[in-house]
């Protein structure tokens, strides 16, 4: 039973975020503080697990993925209520009579600076549930229900195009210079953020354009999934505007951007500095893996990233631990916080791990590619290592 229950962690965190929003005021920070706090300390204390349990009830696991859609819809409703005025859908009156919570007073006590916490809390929840599960679902490229749900989940962070670029771009070009979502050695996180976001968007557009040409459709038409993706995000912004005015729309946009930046931090550390001979298959060594117990439970085994890229056709519950794969120094949210707040320190922390990767994991061709990457990295320790060998 525990092996199924572990995947409820993300929902628990969504509940905490919603509770924080409903309480208003400084409680808006609740989701952010609890999620980062619990994950950072939890990963530190609970450590790794190499368990690879077999799952029989795959329908149950699939239902857990789809449950994200109503949960995040509910979260958006609460977000719009707190950001707006009036009593959207009678939520305030309903909660007052059911639970005795005075949403109106909580909203009145919420100052603009409290919203920083609210936006960061919603951002991390959008990423952990929306982006992560959107990723899992949109790998099922011919399952129409999965694609529909997945793309709407991704649209919450302005990233429905991820469903195109991730599968047909990132998985193919992984750990090569052609991949906008592989961070280069020595690359500053915030510069990577700009390169990755714009590069992925451009790549998604080109891939879609190519597909439309193959099928004989015009680029500027409703057949275009890239454009439809942006229309979906625009529709969500418009819904927030209607429900909660321009301030509500702004709060949603900022939450979406916060969520998107979380995805990019994850993209950054998942493949930071790794190189691959483009002629050879993607192997477990081309991703930074993590077997941290809590990261994997909450993120539906996303941290078992080495297996995900080596066998992209595996479902999340099938992902194996790959003990010998290159391993991240910390759990997912710890790495994320370091990448955001101390990006230079994080790069320094990764330098010896990269050098170890070159020695232990790289093929002779990859060692040459790595040596070139070290020379161009601007990181003295990497450059010196190249001269020594």
């Amino acid at each position: 039973m525990g092996k199924y229950l572990r995947f409820l962690g993300a929902y628990l965190f969504a509940l905490v975020t919603v509770t924080g929003l409903l309480l208003g005021g400084p409680w808006m920070w609740l989701g952010f503080v609890v999620i980062y706090g619990a994950m950072i300390f939890g990963d530190g204390i609970l450590g790794d697990t190499y368990d690879e349990p077999a799952y029989g009830h795959t329908r149950l696991l699939n239902s857990l993925l789809y449950l994200t859609v109503p949960v995040l819809f509910g979260l958006c409703l609460v977000l719009a209520w707190m950001a707006g005025s009036g009593d959207l859908l009678g939520l305030g009156a309903a909660l007052q009579s059911a639970l005795g919570v005075d949403l109106f007073a909580n909203r009145a006590a919420t100052m603009p600076w409290h919203w920083i916490g609210g936006i960061l809390s919603v951002g991390i929840t959008f990423a952990a549930l929306g982006t992560n599960i959107g990723h899992e679902l949109t790998h099922r490229t011919t399952d129409r229900a999965a694609m529909l749900a997945g793309r709407w989940l991704l649209a919450l962070t302005f990233d429905a195009e991820f469903a195109i670029e991730h599968v047909y771009g990132h998985h193919r070009r992984l750990a090569t210079p052609a991949d906008p979502a592989t961070a280069r050695r020595g690359e500053h996180f915030y510069l990577y953020l700009l390169r990755s976001v714009s590069g992925q968007s451009l790549s998604a557009f080109r891939l879609e354009q190519q597909r439309l040409q193959t099928l004989g459709h015009r680029t500027w038409s409703l057949h275009n999934r890239y454009l439809r993706g942006w229309l979906m995000s625009a529709a969500i912004v418009a819904a927030f505007w209607l429900a909660a005015g321009p301030v509500g729309a702004l709060i949603f946009v900022l939450s979406a951007l916060a969520g998107r930046s979380v995805l990019e931090a994850v993209n950054y550390f998942e493949h930071y500095g790794l190189v691959r001979d483009p002629e050879l298959p993607v192997e477990p060594r081309h991703s930074w893996n993590s077997n941290k117990r809590l990261s994997n439970a909450v993120l539906f085994n996303l941290a078992r990233h080495s297996h995900h890229h080596a066998e992209g056709d595996a479902q999340f519950w099938q992902l194996r631990s790959y003990r010998d794969a290159p391993t991240l120094p910390y759990g997912y949210l710890t790495c994320m916080l370091l990448v955001f707040l101390l990006p230079g320190w994080y790069r320094k922390r990764m330098t010896p791990l990269l050098l170890e990767w070159d020695r232990r994991h790289a093929t002779p061709t990859e060692r040459r590619l790595a040596a070139a990457a070290n020379r161009q990295s601007g990181v003295t320790a990497l450059q010196l290592a190249g001269q020594g060998s």
Binding site: V167, Y168, G169, L174, G216, P281
Partner: protein, 121 residues
């Protein structure tokens, strides 16, 4: 619409024959041609396994497959017209015969493909 939740199992394994090598193997229901081939230890070329690099592509000569991906992103119109399919994204519907044409092109440097090189040499 709820295909992912209530996918029907296709009955029984399907036989796959691969030209020009004369390989024969069975693909279990729910398995792809590539998964079955690699499980047999056959050196079928592959890289990404998510239907994007097209390294595993082959031409369908006989029979029918269920494609797990939208190949319009990765195959050209000509390839699609010539019944090119991606082994990593194809589940056979009954017995199929395919032609694997990429073998020679990917042999160099592909460790997984070396046994075949040895066979031919």
């Amino acid at each position: 619409m709820l295909g992912g939740l209530f996918r029907k199992r296709e009955p029984g394994p399907a036989r796959v024959s691969v030209e020009p090598f004369g390989w024969e193997f069975e693909v279990a229901p729910g398995q792809t041609i590539l998964q079955a081939a690699l499980a047999q230890g056959l050196p079928w070329p592959s890289r990404c396994r998510v239907g994007s690099c097209t390294t595993c592509r082959c031409r369908l000569l006989e029979g029918d497959v269920r494609s797990l991906t939208d190949t319009s992103y990765v195959l050209t119109r000509e390839q699609r017209e010539q019944n090119v399919v991606l082994a990593c994204q194809s589940q056979p519907r009954g017995p199929v015969r395919v032609h694997l044409e990429r073998m020679k092109a990917t042999l160099s440097g592909n460790a997984a493909a070396e046994p075949v090189a040895a066979d031919r040499g």
